[in-house]
Symmetry: C2
Subunit: 432 residues, 2 copies
């Protein structure tokens, strides 16, 4: 029996038709995607013959190195999966991650006028499936490519967790002799509106023409194809589920802007990490670190869970300036009285609890309202204006590489631009 995804030929009512077998919700209907893109259904009883022309997944992934000009620097493209190297799979009608890095280079010939591309397929996964362990793995690959003499590294990744991965790597990489740029695409490469080529080319331009030596993200700045932004790794959020200009800096500006046509690079921030003499990595990540978003009508057991499961770190994505339910005198909210004790129990169990805000913009300031002061008193550490996801990977990284006491101290300090000291210290919005 042919499987969905197989290319098949069938005969129905004396007519012969070829196409990709699609999953069908009706057991009596066979659905084919024709070469012209249309789906056609055939009643099973009408089909007199069906044969498989090509089994699904028979195409082999190729690995190769593309070197064409000895005068150009080497850029390494480390590919982990996602839309940046995806196309619509006409076999199933959906988007699949199926290009090898070499195919990628062939698809974007402009890349080869900027650099010699060395490419490596690290993994083939959606970024949703990233675990902390993958950030350590990516760091190891960065180290290998730096040793081989690369002048810059592009990490291709799915966009869903791209900003989170970039934040994690910005902590892992304490210093680097080469820029490390995360690049994704919101539309697959075989679509007219794909952003893959422009994002890759802008990243390569930025790598070869500047003294930047840190971790950053390169994505479309606007809905048009004019400019890309170089975004700060630890302060960027995917703020739209599908637009190409979905990635926005939060509580800060882009680091730089690249004009795709003129190739002009303009630094917007004056302070950024420069290339260092050698690579310094702290690649360990602690597994038991989680995130809990606050919402109305919570139950104490949602907090107790993290003590029961022996978490070593928890980021609370609180409301407003950094609040949770708790200690209310209101009879309808009596359950909330057990939330502060649950948070206290969690902290007493040894878990570091950090507060971020679900507002996204602005930061926490736990001295303004009683609630914030109560939580400070319980031992909750303010995450200032850190993004919740950044606080999550920072806490995992701190607990992986430092003592608990050091981690508690460092989590609220600005290490990689993840905290905008100016915003928090001047506190312009609160005090005006």
């Amino acid at each position: 029996m042919p499987d969905p995804g197989d290319k098949v030929k069938l005969v129905a009512k004396q007519e012969t038709v070829e196409g990709i077998l699609m999953p069908s919700s009706d057991a009596n209907v066979v659905l084919l995607k024709l070469d012209n893109g249309y789906n056609v259904g055939f009643e099973k009883k009408e089909i007199t013959k069906m044969e498989v022309l090509l089994k699904k997944n028979e195409k082999k992934v190729q690995e190769r190195k593309v070197i064409q000009d000895e005068n150009l620097p080497i850029i390494s493209i480390l590919h982990t999966g996602g839309t940046i190297a995806s196309k619509v799979d006409y076999r199933t009608g959906g988007v699949v991650a199926s290009f090898s890095p070499a195919e990628l280079v062939e698809m974007f010939p402009e890349l080869q006028t900027i650099a010699n591309i060395d490419s490596e397929l690290i993994s083939q996964m959606w970024s949703d499936d990233l675990r902390f362990a993958h950030f350590s793995l990516i760091a190891k690959k960065i180290e290998e490519h730096v040793k081989k003499g690369t002048k810059g590294i592009i990490i291709g990744m799915g966009t869903d967790n791209l900003a989170v991965a970039a934040a994690a790597l910005s902590f892992i990489v304490e210093a680097s002799p080469v820029p490390i740029i995360f690049v994704g695409a919101q539309r697959s490469s075989d679509r007219g509106s794909s952003d893959a080529a422009m994002n890759l080319v802008c990243a390569a331009e930025f790598i070869t023409k500047t003294d930047f030596g840190g971790v950053a993200i390169c994505m479309h700045e606007t809905a048009s194809d004019e400019t890309c932004s170089i975004l700060p790794a630890a302060k960027t959020y995917k703020l739209h589920s599908s637009r190409r200009d979905a990635f926005k800096p939060i509580n800060t500006d882009p680091l730089a802007r690249i004009n795709f046509k003129t190739k002009k690079i303009e630094f917007i921030q004056k302070e950024y990490p420069r290339k260092s003499a050698k690579l310094i990595l702290r690649p360990n990540m602690e597994e038991k670190v989680g995130l809990l978003k606050i919402h109305v009508n919570m139950f104490p057991e949602q907090f107790e869970f993290f003590a029961d499961k022996k978490y070593k770190g928890l980021v609370i994505e609180g409301t407003g300036l950094g609040h949770t339910p708790g200690q209310t005198p209101n009879p309808e909210a009596a359950l909330h009285k057990k939330i502060y004790p649950a948070i206290k129990k969690l902290i007493d169990s040894g878990c570091i609890v950090v507060m971020a805000t679900q507002c996204l913009f602005g930061g926490v300031n736990m001295n303004v309202y009683d609630k914030g002061r109560d939580l400070l008193h319980l031992g909750v550490i303010p995450g200032k204006d850190m993004l919740a996801n950044t606080a999550l990977v920072k806490l995992s990284w701190l607990l992986g590489n430092y003592s608990k006491e050091e981690a508690k101290k460092m989590v609220g300090e600005n290490l990689r631009g993840e905290i905008n000291e100016r915003l928090m210290f001047v506190d312009e919005f609160i005090k005006e």
Copy 2:
């Protein structure tokens, strides 16, 4: 012994000082806030005498009704707590919710030129402590005031969960003869930069001068004091932790704009609920409905929790177009293989699981990638472009008032403007 917050007089080193006793982190130091606002510390051993001049919380909250012009309509202000009726408590240095509604009216005399104010203190709580039950309680109070002949209702509330409460009430109130406007303040009323007065006055203007008959939010449109926005109850997010223009419509426009100086009201959306002949309420809410935000490095037990605790509804705030970890072939992510089974077990247990996106802007589209299709196959219901918090209160409301089958069907339908059909059906960002 005096308690923090008490006004005390003490004698130390022959000197007599009066001030508010502050909480002190050093057991050997007594901290006083002086009338000039400064805090001064005294070593306990230096203090020879200390007496309480005024105990904390001795001031009584007043309740009264203010009617001054029989030609003006009545507006009811239902107060639940929060900054809109707060001021800095100079006893502890923080912000406290301590005004009665009558004091509120006296603070904002302009209100009395627009309407006769009938006020009621429903509760004195931070909005963080709201539970679903409070939404039903507010509905009951709305009903009482409509019966008394009010022409419009202003609900004063803390801003942290104001948009969530407005969304809940927009579902509960199926039709209304009067507008119901949620108003908050990001700065307390005794600050020069307070937004309380302008937000209240604009809401009162909007109530008395338009045919609007639904639930909405009235807050500052920009950082200046020029205009307020009337925002759609089920599609608004508090997008900044402290700015006065923190409330933004997501995937839609404001309903209307009010110029504070000229009092000109301009409708931006042409379709909005008009006043109806009578009030129709469906006030029940189901308690066991939760929200889970997806992040990197999740454990299957985070999903199993909701089956173990017998939740009847869960909103997953997924990544991108509506994704979770799960079913990965990557060896480092083997734990994720157990996440799809955990989601399936939850759905099989009878829980309705709805997907929203943590990107905020844009919606979920679970047909684009394998991950989305896998989750659809498990029985996850796409929340389209509904905000996660809106999906949370909608699901609680549906399960409180309809059968499970009806709830499953209705959760993805646009009932109160919470889903922007145009965006999702034209799907402009995906298909461009």
